[in-house]
């Protein structure tokens, strides 16, 4: 039988605020355990939460980015369950009135086809702390620094049909939240965590099969592996006469195995109810205007700008917009007067290779966007040829100054003065009289090939600084007599 896979995702995105969603404790990653857990985060008696305005702003920005309505009124609920990393005994979250309504994210698959993934909604909530189950004399250690970190949980419709689509969507979403600056995107630090809902059904069947949820995947690779493994498992269970249990599963990326965490039968009844500690949050026009004003250019708009006026290829635009810092660098270079196509080539070529060798990020590049802009101008106006440009780049990377300074200091100016070029050509011809005679005796169609020898000699004589185009023209003229 042919099977169809149906995948929906729930994504927890840590918002890039300085403080927690309900307290003024820091959210900085990597602090000593429990040094960023205040009385509110610890649910001490007598404390009251006060929501962080910035968390609402970042959540609303996500809404704009996926073309979704922003709720002007949103309400917090208590989701009740007991776990030691949740000191209050409930998670403060949103249920019926989430801040972000239905939207969509369009993805491009490897074969170039477009696919739309609908977003059901996104809601604001707080993260839990961390439990460490290593050996603490048979006890568990609890670090509550993460407790209360603002999250948006994004819930998709079951619109993906295989691992490729799910991973393409996850990558697109990751790029989007980083590009609009609402999340740092550090997956290894848990800034983005994916829960994958998977079911299979006979191809052509309308109703959905029973689904399982694989929780807390924090890399695209693990996500792909976990989906493939689970689809295989479900099909083999059904084909051997069994039924799928609705359950939560955990995938271990090291062992490449998944196991059942808990089945839905004994799962909690969360007994949601509106949180009496928090009033409804009302976002007014001025708040929404502020959000709209804070929205940076979306990656898709950026791509259109690069392939439009700037004339870059789709490929170049995709690479440059694939990483926020790279796009920022490129835009800064163009703003400083860089020739866009040349800047793109240098950023993706020599600059990327150099940064890679030096283990630097593009933000740390010793060659500033303005310096690179200067280099592209000198290439464009013919001051340096491509070979000399590499030497100029090396000089700039070594901290010898901007393009003009390096060109001056190294004497790298391309010789395009026709008088100087003619002198070089005359010398070469005088020193190679035999070859000149051979050239002149050769039939027309053979000559073009023979010019190469003279170009090489002239280039050598000019120490590589002759303008190749001009040199060629003058040389042919002189050789033809």
């Amino acid at each position: 039988m042919e099977w169809e896979t149906v995948i929906g995702l729930e994504i927890h995105v840590q918002l890039a605020t300085k403080t927690k969603i309900f307290s003024g404790a820091s959210t900085a990653y990597g602090a000593e355990p429990n040094t960023q857990a205040c009385a509110i985060d610890l649910a001490m008696p007598g404390t009251l939460p006060v929501p962080n305005r910035q968390a609402f702003k970042l959540a609303a920005m996500f809404g704009l980015a996926i073309d979704a309505p922003i709720a002007r009124r949103s309400v917090f609920e208590r989701k009740n369950y007991f776990y030691p990393d949740l000191p209050k005994g409930y998670q403060t979250t949103q249920l019926d009135e989430p801040i972000v309504g239905a939207g969509h994210v369009d993805i491009t698959l490897d074969d170039g086809t477009e696919h739309r993934v609908r977003i059901h909604h996104a809601h604001l909530e707080e993260d839990a702390g961390k439990s460490l189950h290593e050996d603490y004399h048979g006890m568990s250690g609890i670090d509550l620094n993460r407790a209360g970190t603002p999250l948006i949980e994004i819930v998709t419709e079951p619109d993906m049909r295989n691992a490729e689509q799910a991973v393409a969507f996850a990558k697109k979403l990751h790029g989007l939240v980083v590009a609009i600056g609402i999340c740092d995107g550090e997956m290894s630090q848990g800034s983005l965590r994916f829960d994958v809902n998977i079911s299979v059904r006979p191809k052509g069947q309308k109703e959905l099969g029973i689904r399982t949820e694989t929780k807390n995947l924090n890399s695209f690779k693990f996500m792909e592996e976990a989906i493939e493994l689970e689809v295989e498992r479900q099909i083999s269970v059904i084909e051997s006469g069994g039924t799928i249990r609705q359950e939560t599963r955990l995938y271990n990326g090291d062992t490449k195995k998944a196991r059942s965490m808990r089945s839905k039968e004994d799962s909690n009844d969360y007994r949601y109810f509106p949180c009496p500690d928090l009033l409804p949050v009302i976002l007014d026009d001025s708040f929404l205007a502020e959000v709209a004003a804070a929205m940076p250019e979306l990656p898709e708009a950026k791509r259109a700008r690069y392939t439009g006026d700037m004339g870059l290829s789709e490929y170049d635009a995709k690479v440059l917009t694939g990483d926020v810092a790279t796009a920022v660098y490129f835009d800064a270079a163009v703003n400083a007067g860089a020739i866009p196509k040349l800047a793109a080539n240098w950023i993706m070529g020599d600059l990327a290779a150099f940064l890679n060798r030096q283990e630097l990020t593009i933000k740390q590049s010793p060659v500033t966007p303005a310096a690179l802009a200067g280099l592209t101008q000198r290439i464009d106006d013919g001051t340096v040829n491509s070979k000399m440009a590499k030497a100029v780049f090396e000089g700039m990377a070594a901290g010898e100054g901007d393009a003009d300074t390096v060109i001056e200091a190294k004497g790298l100016k391309q010789v395009s003065d026709s008088g100087a070029l003619e002198k070089i050509i005359d010398d070469v011809m005088a020193n190679n009289t035999q070859q000149v005679e051979g050239y002149r005796a050769a039939p027309e169609d053979k000559r073009a090939k023979m010019v190469g020898f003279f170009v090489g000699q002239c280039m050598k004589a000019s120490k590589g600084q002759a303008d190749p185009k001009q040199l060629n023209q003058l040389l042919v003229k002189k050789l033809n007599g």
Binding site: A25, G141, L144
Partner: protein, 93 residues
């Protein structure tokens, strides 16, 4: 409400109810639910659910760090700590 409902509720609320008390608790909660039934009898057609009894709007705070490190004070009142962590009976998920 029957005994099983009460036992399930107690489990969710992490409350221990001794076997010989379950019947009494069941009866008492059923009495409370009878009061709720009276509320349910009111016609609320067209009335939006109330999120909060106060007719007020939530104040939001600025995203600024205002809470210092209070680990020492908080751990002084905890039953068990180690390496800066709070220790709890082992949990496995």
């Amino acid at each position: 409400m029957n005994r099983e409902d009460i036992q399930q509720l107690a489990k969710l609320a992490q409350l221990h109810i001794a076997d010989d008390q379950v019947d009494e608790v069941t009866n008492r909660i059923s009495t409370v639910l009878a009061l709720v039934d009276q509320l349910s009898a009111v016609d609320t057609e067209g009335v939006a659910p109330m999120a909060h009894p106060l007719d007020a709007v939530q104040i939001l705070r600025a995203d600024e760090i205002t809470e210092p490190n209070v680990r020492e004070q908080m751990q002084a009142i905890a039953p068990a700590t180690e390496d800066g962590l709070f220790l709890v009976p082992k949990v496995i998920d």
